[in-house]
C-alpha cells in the first residue's frame, strides 16, 4: 500500500471531470422539479443526448456542434414527455419511466453504426501563465469548456431561482399551480419550457460522457448516472449549490476508490465500488435534515378547469 502514489492535484482535476455529467443532468432536473414536474426520464434523455452528440461530432468533426446537437436531442425527447403529461394529462411517473426505456432503445438503434469509432477530440482550454501555475493550474484552469459551463450554469440557475422574477414565477408554479394560474401565469407554458431546459441539460450531460469522459459510444454507457442525478436533486433539497457539492462528492469518491485500488489498499474491491453511492447519499441525507421540502405541486398535473 502506497498512498503517496496518489497525486491530490490530478485527483481533484479528474474528479471534476467525473462529476460534470451528473452535475449537468441534476441541474436540469432541479429546474424541472422546481416547476412542479417530476421527470423520471433523465437517464433516457442523457443517453439519447450521448449518441446524438457523438454522431454529430463524428459526422461534422466538431465536438462543439455535437454538444449543441445533444442539447437539442435531449430537449426534443423531453417535449414528448411534456406532450404526454402537460397536454394529455398522463401520469408523470409512468411517462418518465417510459421515456427512459424509450431513450435507451432509441439510442441503441441510432448508435448501431457508431460503435468502436474515435470521436474528434475536444481540447482543454489553455490560458497562458494561469494554466501553468502549480496546483491551481491543473485544477482550475486546465479543463474543457463544458466543465466550466456546468459550473456557470449552476451559478446562473441559483441566481435566477433566488433573485429574478422568472425564478419567482417558476417557483410559484411549482408550489401552487392553481394560485399561479389565478394570477394569470401560463402554467403549462412555463412547465413546458422548464421540461425542455431539463432535457437539454440531460442531453449535454450525456454527450459529456460520450465525447469527453470516455470518449466512445457504447449502448447503455450512461450506466445509471441519470438515476443518480434524480436522487441527487432530492437529497440536495432542490438547492443548486448542494447539487454541485453532491455531484463532486460522488465523482470524487468514484475516482478516489479507483485510486485506492491502484495504490493497493487492503479494502475489498466490492466495498470500494459501492462507496460512492453510500457516501453521497449519507452526506446529503445529513445535509437535508433542515427540512427543506419539495415543491408543493411536484408531480401533480395541472388542468385549468379544475
Amino acid at each position: 500500500m502506497d498512498l503517496s502514489a496518489i497525486n491530490p492535484v490530478l485527483l481533484i482535476a479528474s474528479l471534476m471531470v467525473a462529476a460534470t455529467p451528473l452535475l449537468l443532468a441534476a441541474i436540469g432536473e432541479l429546474v424541472v422539479e422546481k416547476s412542479g414536474v417530476l421527470n423520471l426520464g433523465v437517464e433516457g434523455m442523457m443517453i439519447v443526448g450521448a449518441i446524438a452528440g457523438f454522431a454529430t461530432a463524428v459526422e461534422s468533426g466538431s465536438p462543439l456542434l455535437g454538444f449543441i446537437a445533444a442539447a437539442i436531442a435531449g430537449a426534443a425527447l423531453s417535449i414528448l414527455f411534456a406532450i404526454l403529461t402537460q397536454f394529455a394529462q398522463a401520469n408523470q411517473v409512468a411517462s418518465g419511466l417510459s421515456l427512459t426505456l424509450f431513450g435507451l432503445g432509441l439510442s441503441a438503434l441510432m448508435g448501431q453504426s457508431y460503435v468502436g469509432i474515435k470521436p474528434p477530440q475536444m481540447g482543454d482550454i489553455h490560458i497562458p501563465v494561469l494554466s501553468d501555475l502549480p496546483v491551481v493550474g491543473p485544477i482550475l484552469f486546465g479543463h474543457d469548456i463544458i466543465l466550466y459551463f456546468g459550473i456557470a450554469l449552476t451559478a446562473a440557475v441559483w441566481w435566477v431561482l433566488k433573485y429574478s422574477r422568472i425564478g419567482l414565477v417558476l417557483r410559484a408554479v411549482g408550489e401552487n399551480h392553481d394560485a399561479a394560474h389565478a394570477l394569470g401565469y401560463k402554467v403549462i407554458k412555463i412547465r413546458l419550457l422548464a421540461i425542455m431546459f431539463g432535457g437539454a441539460c440531460a442531453g449535454l450531460g450525456g454527450a459529456y460522457i460520450s465525447l469527453i469522459r470516455v470518449p466512445q459510444w457504447t449502448e447503455g454507457m450512461t450506466a445509471g448516472i441519470g438515476w443518480i442525478a434524480l436522487a441527487l436533486v432530492v437529497f440536495a433539497s432542490w438547492k443548486p449549490w448542494r447539487a454541485l457539492l453532491g455531484a463532486y462528492l460522488f465523482g470524487g469518491v468514484t475516482v478516489v476508490q479507483l485510486n485506492l485500488q491502484a495504490a493497493g489498499v487492503a479494502i475489498p474491491v466490492e466495498y470500494l465500488a459501492m462507496s460512492p453511492y453510500l457516501i453521497t447519499i449519507l452526506v446529503l441525507v445529513i445535509l437535508s435534515a433542515d427540512k427543506s421540502s419539495a415543491p408543493a405541486s411536484l408531480g401533480r398535473n395541472f388542468h385549468a378547469s379544475r
Binding site: A5, I6, V115, V214
Partner: protein, 357 residues
C-alpha cells in the same frame, strides 16, 4: 386444457416444419458478451464466424446474438438458439460456463463449444487460447519500455485466465527490469468503456507509463493517447487504429481455423467433446506487429521470446517461481502443468495486493 393441447400441437408442427427446412444446412450459433463492434474480444469471434460462412458458403447458416449478459439471460438466448434448430453453438465468454452446461443437458443433440471454461460434458467442448504466452511477450516489452517502472494493469474479473495473464506479464517484465512494479485495478466488467477509461486514467495519474488491459474496449487506448507518453497493447484484437503509439503491439485471438474445423466436424458427423488449448505455436494467439515506437533491440528480445514460445523450447511459466506468500511453486527448470494453470488463483512472488474473492 383444450387450449394447451392446441398450442402444444401447433408448437410440435412448427418444430417439425422448421426441422425439415433446416435438414441440409448446418446452423451454427454464436453468443457474444459484447457488441461485434467492440474492436476487441467479440470482434475477433465475429471474424471467426465470418470465416466459417466464407468457408462453407450455403452449407452453413450462422446466427449470433451480441451483448448477452453473463447469467440467466445467456441461458435464455442459448435455449432460443437451440430451439430454432442450431446444430452447433459457440458460447464465447467465461461466465457462460454454467448456462452452457445447463442448456446442453436439455438439448443432447446440439453440440456446444464454450470458450475459456473448464466444464465439459458429452455435448460440450471447451476451447481457449494460451493468452498468457502473449502476455509474456507484452511483459518483456513493457519491462524494457517503462521509465517510471510502474506498469498499470486493468483486470476484468478475478478468474484464472486473467490471473495467469497478470502473472505471466509480471514474471517477464521483472526478468528484464528488476525494479518494475505492477498496479492492478479490477474493473469487474469485460466491456464498459466508461469504467475502463476511468481505470486507465487513474493508473496513469499514479505514474504508470505502460497500461496492460484485460478488458475488451479501446477506451484505455484513448485515455493513454490523451495522456501522451504512455504505451498500451491491443487486447484480443489488433487495435491498430491506435498504432504506432500508444498501441505498440497486441495479442490477437485467431479463432477462425478452430471454428472452421469444429463446424466441419459437425457436418461430417465426427464431432466429439474435447478440450483445446492452443497458443502462439498453433496460431490461435497472434502477436500484433510491434510498432516503431519500440527500439529495435527491445523488439528483437520480444520476438525471440515469441519464437521460443512458438516452437515449444520455452514455457512462459518456468521455475524458479515462488508464490506471492513466498512458498515454492516451481523449482529451477520446472514448468507449470496445465491443471495448475487452468485453475490459477494466486499471484506470483513480487506482486502486491490481494486477488478479490
Amino acid at each position: 386444457m383444450k387450449l394447451t393441447n392446441l398450442l402444444t400441437s401447433a408448437a410440435v408442427a412448427l418444430g417439425l416444419a422448421a426441422g425439415a427446412a433446416m435438414a441440409d444446412t448446418t446452423k451454427v450459433g454464436f453468443v457474444y458478451v459484447g457488441p461485434v463492434g467492440d474492436g476487441g474480444w467479440t470482434y475477433e469471434h465475429d471474424q471467426g464466424r465470418k470465416a466459417v460462412e466464407a468457408e462453407f458458403g450455403d452449407k452453413v447458416e450462422t446466427v449470433y446474438v451480441e451483448n448477452v449478459a453473463e447469467g440467466p439471460d445467456a441461458e435464455r438466448v442459448m435455449t432460443q438458439m437451440a430451439l430454432e434448430g442450431a446444430d452447433l453453438i459457440f458460447t464465447t465468454s467465461f461466465g457462460y460456463m454454467d448456462p452452457t452446461i445447463n442448456v446442453a443437458k436439455k438439448f443432447p443433440n446440439v453440440k456446444f463449444e464454450h470458450a475459456t471454461g473448464y466444464k465439459r460434458s458429452d455435448n460440450v467442448s471447451t476451447y481457449s487460447a494460451r493468452f498468457y504466452e502473449g502476455r509474456a511477450v507484452q511483459g518483456t516489452i513493457a519491462g524494457h519500455m517503462t521509465e517510471s517502472n510502474i506498469i498499470g494493469y486493468i483486470g476484468s474479473y478475478p478468474i484464472p485466465e486473467v490471473i495467469r495473464g497478470i502473472n505471466s506479464a509480471y514474471i517477464h517484465a521483472k526478468k528484464v527490469n528488476p525494479n518494475v512494479e505492477f498496479k492492478i485495478v479490477w474493473a469487474f466488467t469485460w466491456f464498459d468503456p466508461a469504467k475502463e477509461a476511468d481505470a486507465a486514467k487513474v493508473l496513469i495519474e499514479q505514474g504508470a507509463d505502460v497500461i496492460l488491459q484485460h478488458t475488451d474496449s479501446t477506451a484505455p487506448q484513448a485515455a493513454a493517447q490523451a495522456a501522451g507518453n504512455v504505451i498500451t497493447f491491443g487486447q484480443a484484437s489488433d487495435m491498430s487504429e491506435y498504432a504506432p503509439k500508444p498501441r505498440v503491439s497486441s495479442i490477437i485471438d485467431d479463432w477462425a481455423p478452430y471454428y472452421i474445423a469444429r463446424t466441419k466436424a459437425v457436418i461430417d458427423g465426427t464431432w466429439e467433446s474435447k478440450d483445446t488449448w492452443d497458443g502462439i505455436g498453433a496460431g490461435m494467439v497472434g502477436i500484433g506487429e510491434i510498432s516503431d515506437a519500440v527500439p529495435a533491440d527491445v523488439k528483437a528480445a520480444a520476438l525471440a521470446i515469441k519464437d521460443s514460445l512458438a516452437d515449444g523450447s520455452y514455457h512462459a511459466f518456468t521455475g524458479p517461481i515462488k508464490k506471492q506468500d513466498g512458498s515454492d511453486w516451481l523449482a529451477e527448470g520446472e514448468t507449470a502443468d496445465d491443471g495448475t494453470l487452468a485453475g490459477m488463483n494466486f499471484y506470483v512472488e513480487g506482486l502486491e495486493g490481494d486477488i478479490p474473492q
